[in-house]
């Protein structure tokens, strides 16, 4: 308003000059500069994440030949199939069991490594990380041979004690056990290294204070270690849950979903119906099912992290 009062007729600047000035001002604002600098990354994420996500949403609404829009038709079809519910069940069992064991083993091993004198610790840390460093497609092949029903090292050793042979990948229960075992073997070192870092960040004096307060080793873990590691445990678990839920390579190589679909999880079954069964829209619908399940888990776990985040 004041602007309008002081401005004299005929002194007003031409429109193009004003436009340039506002562009100039916009460029001078910090937020604009920040936006421009992050733009390449935003574009990359849009290209690699947002576009495929929306494309798969679009795909899921088409018919098998991808010619006709069918709305929720694919989902209705899935809900009526027993195999789908089997896959839901198996994915949950697979992810939850594997993550629980990875977390437990990682926690215990992290404690052992933490208590090794500093000199030898590097060596052990390095060796224990090996399963996580080898590309899983390769290491799973080695496991495949170990699980071979007739000539494998496992069954040979067991036969020596008069046990077996065990149909590691041939029987539904054993096959489920096998894929979970390999996933735990592959993922536990990640937990170990995260927990080890968390353990190292707990000040020694807290343990000393607890020792003087009268806590035994179990109480020290329960009242000091676990509360101090809470956030790391939550984030690691969430991260691992997502990765394990979306696992593909281990199951694909070890059992390819068999026997009789009894080890299929979302990703492998999506591949089976989408790529091998040439029904891309149905495959997209299957893989989309992981989103709501993981979103709910993420909300719950991250809410807890936020709540406790500023304690230390």
């Amino acid at each position: 308003m004041a602007d309008a009062v002081v401005r004299q007729p005929g002194v007003a600047r031409p429109a193009s000059a004003r436009k340039r000035a506002s562009l100039h001002n916009a460029l001078r604002r910090k937020s604009t500069v920040a936006f421009l600098m992050t733009l390449p990354l935003i574009l990359l994420i849009t290209l690699l994440v947002v576009y495929p996500a929306f494309y798969s949403l679009h795909l899921a609404t088409l018919n098998k030949s991808m010619q006709k829009f069918v709305g929720f038709g694919n989902f209705e079809f899935l809900f009526r199939r027993d195999t789908f519910w089997l896959v839901v069940k198996q994915s949950c069992i697979f992810a939850i069991t594997a993550v629980v064991f990875k977390a437990l083993i990682g926690f215990v091993v992290a404690h052992f490594v933490h208590n090794i004198p500093a000199k030898g610790q590097r060596k052990w840390r390095g060796m224990l990380l090996v399963p996580w460093v080898i590309p899983p497609a390769m290491s799973t092949l080695a496991w495949l041979w170990l699980f071979d029903p007739s000539y494998s090292a496992f069954n040979y050793t067991l036969a020596f004690f008069g046990i077996g042979p065990i149909p590691w990948t041939g029987d539904a229960a054993w096959a489920r056990f096998a894929v979970i075992l390999v996933n735990v073997w592959y993922g536990a070192p990640f937990f170990m290294i995260m927990y080890l870092a968390a353990l190292k960040s707990v000040p020694d004096q807290l343990y000393e204070a607890a020792a003087i307060d009268g806590a035994n080793w179990w109480q020290r873990i329960w009242y000091v270690t676990l509360p101090m590691m809470r956030n790391i445990i939550a984030i690691t678990t969430l991260f691992s849950l997502i990765v394990t839920f979306a696992n593909f390579d281990i199951v694909r190589i070890l059992t390819a979903g068999g026997p009789l679909d009894h080890t299929h999880i979302f990703a492998t079954w999506a591949f089976r119906v989408g790529i091998e069964g040439s029904d891309i829209p149905l495959g997209a619908s299957v893989s989309l099912f992981m989103v709501p399940i993981l979103a709910v888990a993420a909300i719950f776990i991250l809410r807890d992290v936020n709540k406790r985040g500023n304690e230390a």
């Binding site: 000040p203 000393e208 020792a211 003087i212 307060d213 009242y223 000091v224």
Partner: protein
Amino acid sequence: MADVSLRKVVKRYDDVEAVRGIDLDIADHEFIVLVGPSGCGKSTTLRMIAGLEDISDGDIMIGGDIVNDVPPKDRDIAMVFQNYALYPHMTVAENMSFGLRLKHYPKAEIKARVTEAARLLDITDLIDRKPKQLSGGQRQRVAMGRAIVRNPKVFLFDEPLSNLDAKLRVQMRIEIKKVHQKVRTTTVYVTHDQVEAMTLADRVVVMNKGKIEQIGTPNELYHKPATRFVAGFIGSPAMNFIPCRLEDVGGTLQIRLTDRLAFPLPPARAARYNALPRTDKLLLGLRPEHLTEWHAHLAPGVETFDTVLDVTEPMGMETLVYFGLEGTPVCGRVDPNAGAKDGAPMRLAMDLNNMHLLNEETGVVL
């Protein structure tokens, strides 16, 4: 409440001896301060009393019982750490009551003890806060509260004030003294700050290189140090050490500081040092407050000399003057109105009644 005894206690780390045979008797209710430079073994000694470090040799007794192999939780001690070591996920009340809860005390008693300790330390309003929401001084109070509620036989303090700023440190020092006057628990307190040691302790233990240099009341250590280390460590600014020798001139014993500077010793000192060989290399130990400005009427045993000041430091209630005696830097304390100026000549008085004489080689005060 209990007495604490250390008998020839040794701590070895591989090849290094951190504590080299310590004997110490701490009476019931006593406030003992272990003081010394960093690496002298004072914290290690405290941690051995706490049971946080194994002892390599010797015995530690609390209340007459040997506790060498007793774990910390069964020694009935409480410890206050330098970084407070409060459990960050617990409130103040939970922190303070943690030890009692582990021992399954009745809820009512826990509450009563925590309330009483909080009142004593003036932290009643903070009882539901988490450590993160407290200032350094408040955290230290909570750490002390955690020790008090346990009502232990012995309090152990490991440099509890090092993380506080200078003003708060003075304040907390007084708080600690007040608390000890009220609860009277036997206390072992470790610090590298000799002022803390002097102000808090019933008796001070000066440690150096893993050994005890001297044990005594603050006044004893200040006025009758046994070694050069103690003489130099206790007191600020530190005691001056001036190379000197004894000589007989016309039947009186003289102390010669430089070619041109020699003073007759006061009769009491002369009698004490008369038997010393005149050839020994000696050090004159003199505290800055015994090097003052010159007065017209000087007491017997106070000698004057002229010097040129290098630097002066006005402190308000006094001025510190620095000058050299044949290359040895010397510090004196003069009245702020005595007219001391940088680079100016000044006549000073040396009070030989309060002198110390040390053997330069052995460092023993003679």
